[in-house]
Symmetry: C2
Subunit: 346 residues, 2 copies
DNA sequence: TTTTAACACGAAAACGTTTTCGTAGTGATT
DNA sequence: AATCACTACGAAAACGTTTTCGTGTTAAAA
């Protein structure tokens, strides 16, 4: 087991100085052809590769970006990572991941772990707990230390940085308008409590669509679920909530849900209660998930183009990293959502 | 925007030496209480945190592990990552990801990018292309340079390193035996070409189960699909293949598929052809995916405990990293699979 | 008063690079 | 013979740490 070879070892072996070796390997004109060839041949033989850490220290640049997300076992987030990794790799960067697990504390810890020189910049989607507590000091500190941040999806106006979001409002509005045009008269909304910004925006889109078509807003058709409960594990609880919704509102003929799980569960409950989807009830979800495509009937959804979000976020971050002049201007890129019609709508 | 504060700056500011600052912050007995307090107070005020890169260079240890996987938008792999991240974080390590995208070249590039000092060790699942080409030189080189590797799931006996795998053979055998005990007489197998090791092992498990119950092996019941084709995109092609299987074998009453997509698609095709699942045909898949749980009917599967695999892999790697005596002994941990019975079996 | 020991701190090396600057040696020009 | 300009290389600093070792000061012991 031979350790990695360093400049110093090559220098000693060939009886020249470290500087000479370094210059020879970078083909400097200062070095004679003879010496260059000797050094390069030796380096190739021993498979010399410059030590990244040393380079990072010298250049004060790691060529690594950190991505912090609430959860990785989740199609949306893993697709975002794929996008980030794609662009990062193309542009010579590595990607290091941190999972906040929806916890404020873990988000802070993770950021502190990485902010101490390990990375050049952050790509982040806020944890639910952070959104709830509205404590953003760790972001301010990071930005103040000159480390750029790009936020995506779950963003917050209090933090000044580049952002990439999906047009939640428009996407929801279009989806609900589609239901209305498909002749739904009583469209239920299954959403989250308002502190999750995306939930709030999608709710607003729902309201806007109703308004545009002069439909009455019926408060009893809106089911706001507590997103603290992990319904993925606690599926029964979710089904009960939705079943209650159907039972107290017999006339529901359309459902818009702000995520995949809600939409899918609604569809399943509806069918169990004897409704036909889409003949009796039409359903649209908001997601980039994989369940929608494979469910029976397959679920119409508003696609968020997660991978594209990742690509844009990485692009924004790297642009900022490589533009030495640190102009203090921040942009928010909005990714157009797309309504994908499948079998759950007519 | 103030840059991160360094030992040198603190030293200059307080008019002491760098050594004194360093020692004071680490509470060395060499330093007087007075000085310690002064330094520590100053450091706290300016939020001093040691630079990780400098530490890594000094200690020749990055406390970062690299994980290289073929694909991230995939429940199995993202669950593995979650497990890796969990253990890594607990033990003070960061995780850096590389995606091979099932490509040999990208796998090599990614490894080279990370092997140059950026990380202390690798966790890897081989890309399909690597399995097919059987070119493992990049692993040998890495291991030779003293960087430990832990492989998981898609492993290969040619490489000497720690491994974490699921008992594909046993899992498949148990699943098929379950079908037999549930009175299936003609069990079809939907699998991949043999170069994917897990596919081969699961196929062997299927054969073993038949043998144990003295059932005849009928070659026409085995459908070997070309895993090069991305059936996730090309769903129609997959459905056609499976439909063909059903049409040429009218007596099929059980299906064992080596992954989620195959199993799910088989179930859908069967129902479209008028079969009832599980009454006419029972289906079991092999996966940790999310589709199985939410499909209708929900799909019985052999669970691989992906997260546990990740945890074990990370544990093995860090153990090796922290045991200075590099004993050249490698172990292979086998994770027991678990048959999860849902609605697609009786 | 001299020696000793404890105390409190600083200098310097090391990790592996890159880069600036200085300088021997050589051959050509005055 | 003295100056000059190259050529080809080496020394050293810098990035930010930690740690070993050396040393000046003071107080206690002889």
């Amino acid at each position: 087991m031979k350790r990695k070879v360093t400049l110093k070892q090559i220098a000693r072996e060939l009886d020249v100085s470290i500087s000479t070796v370094s210059k020879a390997l970078r083909n400097s004109v200062e070095i004679s052809e003879d010496t260059k060839q000797k050094v390069q041949a030796f380096a190739k033989l021993y498979n010399y590769k410059p030590n990244n850490i040393a380079l990072s220290l010298k250049n004060r640049k790691t060529n690594t970006i950190g991505i912090i997300i609430p959860e990785i076992v989740h199609h949306f987030f893993s697709k975002v990572i794929r996008g980030v990794e794609l662009v990062a790799n193309q542009r010579g960067y590595n990607v290091i991941i941190g999972l906040s697990n929806e916890s404020f504390a873990k988000e802070v810890i993770n950021m502190e772990m990485l902010a101490n020189g390990s990375i050049d910049g952050f790509i982040i989607s806020l944890s639910k707990e952070t959104l709830q507590q509205q404590d953003y000091h760790h972001f301010d500190e990071t930005i103040n230390q000159g480390m750029p941040i790009v936020m995506f999806d779950r963003v917050v106006s209090e933090i000044q940085c580049d952002k990439v979001i999906v047009d939640d409002f428009e996407g929801a509005k279009n989806a609900v308008e589609k239901l209305i045009e498909n002749n739904c008269k009583n469209i239920a909304l299954i959403t989250t409590k308002d502190y999750v910004s995306v939930g709030r925006l999608r709710t607003q889109g729902y309201l806007e669509a109703l308004k545009n078509y002069s439909l009455d807003l019926k408060a009893e058709l809106i089911l706001k679920l507590d997103d603290d409960i992990n319904y993925e594990v606690n599926l029964d609880a979710l089904e009960k909530e939705i079943e209650q919704l159907f039972k107290t509102n017999k006339t529901i003929d359309g459902i818009f849900a702000v995520n995949e799980l809600y939409a899918l569960t609604a569809m399943r409950v509806a069918r169990r209660l004897g409704f036909n989807v889409p003949d009796d009830i039409q359903v649209i979800g908001f997601t980039d998930g994989v369940l929608s495509k494979h469910s029976t009937p397959s679920l119409s959804t508003v696609s968020q183009h997660a991978q594209l979000m990742g690509e844009k976020a990485a692009g924004l971050l790297i642009d900022k990293l490589e533009n030495d002049e640190d102009e203090e201007s921040y942009q928010t890129q909005i990714i157009a959502s797309e309504l994908i019609e499948r079998e759950s709508t007519k």
